[in-house]
Amino acid sequence: MKRVYVNEDWCLGCHLCEYNCAYANSGLDDMVKALKGKPVFANVHIEEADGITYAVSCRHCKDPLCVRSCIAGAISIEDGAVKIDREKCVGCLTCVLVCPYGAVAAGANGAAQKCELCLANSCGSPACVKGCPNNAIVYEER
């Protein structure tokens, strides 16, 4: 299955992926409208240390701890992609507690959110990948 991977040799730490992600998942047609003056809830985040930066997002594990741990049964695997039913989610954040990558986070209305590969939003393929200025984030089969 195609997943999102980061190559830290090329990650610039510009954080554009975070904004492109938040915009793609906002459901709005204008980035300014989507993000200006609002808290940004991105499903990818940049970590940095010692001059190295890299983007982290859901690995879509084959045997995901979040799916097994969700107290509401709101996280499931669909065609290999791990998805959160945000209607079912009660925001207990157990998924946040168990994800070894730190790739699940509390979203705008308290429900958990994570990368769902932009398969369901208008972007169609991962916005972080499309917008990465240095091809540091790729969407490929490995």
Binding site: D9, W10, C11, L12, G13, C14, H15, L16, E18, Y19, N20, Y23, M31, V32, L35, K36, G37, V40, G51, G131, P133, N134, N135, A136
Partner: protein, 501 residues
């Protein structure tokens, strides 16, 4: 002493309605122009540091940024321009030679733009390159003057070493040190994929790039940095650099600060030491001396590789080229006054040398007149900006052209002309690891290949229009060119008729 205040050249225009304070501009500006003010909750800018490299503009996700030329001007004066006055202030502040980068930006004539290309109509019909074969391949090197036969009467086919190029374009010399590892990687990989050559410049060849040797021209310049046996053997051709279009008559100086790590190892000089290339080669004071170096290099490479001699286009270029053609060199490269550089004294860059178009025409004519045109191939550089410039150069007599600025632009350069600062935001003219990584060679090489593919298509279209199906048939075919707005003298030197003639 308090420095005289010089009003910033550029202004950062931020559309507050669009800015989402994502701080991408701040993170991407190595000049530290942008800053987030947590108290005001907005982005602020310090224009004094802006070089208008457009990195922030390019990456701003909401297109909230614009860099504009400041309209704060000194009182108008046709003689004392703003720029001239500010240069005086700068020198009065510093007492130093003014430094600049890239090519001469002055509004001097661009002859390419005053030359027009022919097309076939009715008779000798044009060729459609999508339907007919079209040859863009060229071989650079000495061509035999006549057919030779052996004792059995068979034709002797072994010619002197040739440089084979899939199209008449090469990436010209840019040293590792003046540009980054990733820029070199991009050039090397693109040249290999394209079947052309790139040029190491006087910076040695990084060990990682030996695999691209068959598409590499290695340079031997006055400082002899990075020259050794393996270096010469790795290459497809060896270039002796006598001069450079951006700074004819002077040497080079890469500051010690940039001689770190791999750069130092590749140049074979200690870390932190200034890399000073002398103005002359201290062993070359005559064509005979040059011949000695040419043959030394031929000996070192067992006569398997063509030797290029590169000179800047200067006043008596025709006579110089004639001498070089007799020195044993296989290829002469001539660099016009608009050629780029990583750093040059501004006065030299803007006032020394001559246009490449004129130099090329006069050299080609002189070599023909002297019957030695086939001794050498001619490569010209110094602001070849498009496929049309390539076609015009070939029709004026060039075997191939050198491009560097266009290649840099393809890799992301925005011609801010501050390479000398070493803080290139595009990861090209810098050795700072955090900036170098901004140029991913996957992207850099892809874009270079795209550019050359596009040019190749355009060259074919232009040739097809003229009813010509190979570069060989176009070379020196000045009948295909006409001048516009040129004086009789200029037309005479270019060896072309005026439009309408």
């Amino acid at each position: 002493m308090v420095e005289h205040f010089i009003y910033p050249e550029f202004e950062v225009e931020r559309n507050k309605d669009r800015c989402i304070a994502c701080r991408v501009c701040e993170r991407q500006c190595s000049n530290e122009v942008h800053r987030f003010d947590p108290e005001l909750g907005v982005m602020v800018a310090d224009e004094t540091k802006c070089v208008n490299c457009q990195r922030c503009v390019s990456l701003c996700p909401t297109r909230a940024l614009k860099i504009v030329k400041s309209d704060c001007r000194l009182r108008e004066n046709a003689n004392w321009s703003d720029e001239t006055i500010k240069e005086i202030y700068k020198q009065a502040n510093s007492g130093g030679v003014l430094l600049s980068s890239m090519g001469n930006p002055k509004p001097l004539p661009v002859y390419w733009d005053k030359i027009l290309i022919n097309a076939s109509q009715v008779t000798n019909p044009p060729i459609d390159p999508l339907r007919e074969p079209m040859e863009t391949k060229v071989f650079l090197g000495k061509k035999p003057g006549r057919i030779k036969r052996d004792e059995n009467g068979d034709i002797v086919t072994d010619v002197t070493p040739q440089l084979e190029l899939s199209m008449p374009v090469m990436f010209s010399a840019m040293s590792y040190g003046s540009i980054s590892y990733n820029a070199h990687a991009s050039l090397a990989r693109a040249a290999t994929e394209l079947g052309i050559c790139y040029n190491t410049g006087e910076g040695g060849l990084h060990e990682d790039f030996y695999i691209y040797g068959p598409n590499t021209v290695v340079q031997v310049a006055s400082g002899r940095f990075g020259v050794h046996k393996n270096y010469l053997e790795a290459a497809a051709a060896v270039e002796i650099k006598m001069g450079q279009g951006a700074k004819p008559g002077i040497g080079g100086h890469l500051p010690g600060a940039k001689i770190v790590g791999d750069v130092s190892r590749t140049r074979m000089i200690p870390e932190g030491s200034d890399a000073i290339s002398p103005a002359p080669h201290h062993d070359i004071y005559s064509i005979e001396d040059l011949r000695q170096l040419v043959y030394s290099l031929k000996e070192a490479t067992e006569y398997k590789k063509p030797i290029i001699v590169k000179v800047a286009a200067v006043h008596n270029i025709a006579a110089i080229a004639s001498g070089i053609a007799r020195s044993g060199a296989d290829i002469i490269a001539i660099d016009g006054f608009r050629g780029g550089t990583g750093a040059a004294p501004t006065r030299i860059r803007d006032n020394v040398g001559i246009p490449i178009e004129l130099a090329l025409a006069s050299v080609d004519q002189r070599l023909r007149d002297e019957g030695i045109r086939n001794n050498v191939s001619l490569v010209v550089g110094g602001s070849v900006r498009s496929a049309a410039d390539v076609v015009k150069a070939v029709a004026l007599g060039a075997d191939a052209v050198y491009v560097a600025t266009a290649a840099l632009l393809a890799m992301g350069c925005h011609l801010c002309r501050t390479c000398q600062s070493g803080k290139c935001n595009w990861g090209i003219a810098t050795q700072r690891p955090d900036l170098v990584k901004r140029l991913n060679p996957d992207i850099g090489s892809r874009r270079l290949v795209n550019l050359m593919d596009a040019w190749r298509h355009e060259i074919k279209e232009l040739m097809g229009g003229m009813g010509i199906n190979s570069i060989e048939s176009l070379r020196g075919n000045r009948l295909m060119l006409r001048g516009v707005g040129l004086t009789v003298k200029e037309l005479e030197i270019l060896g072309i008729s005026h439009a309408g003639e």
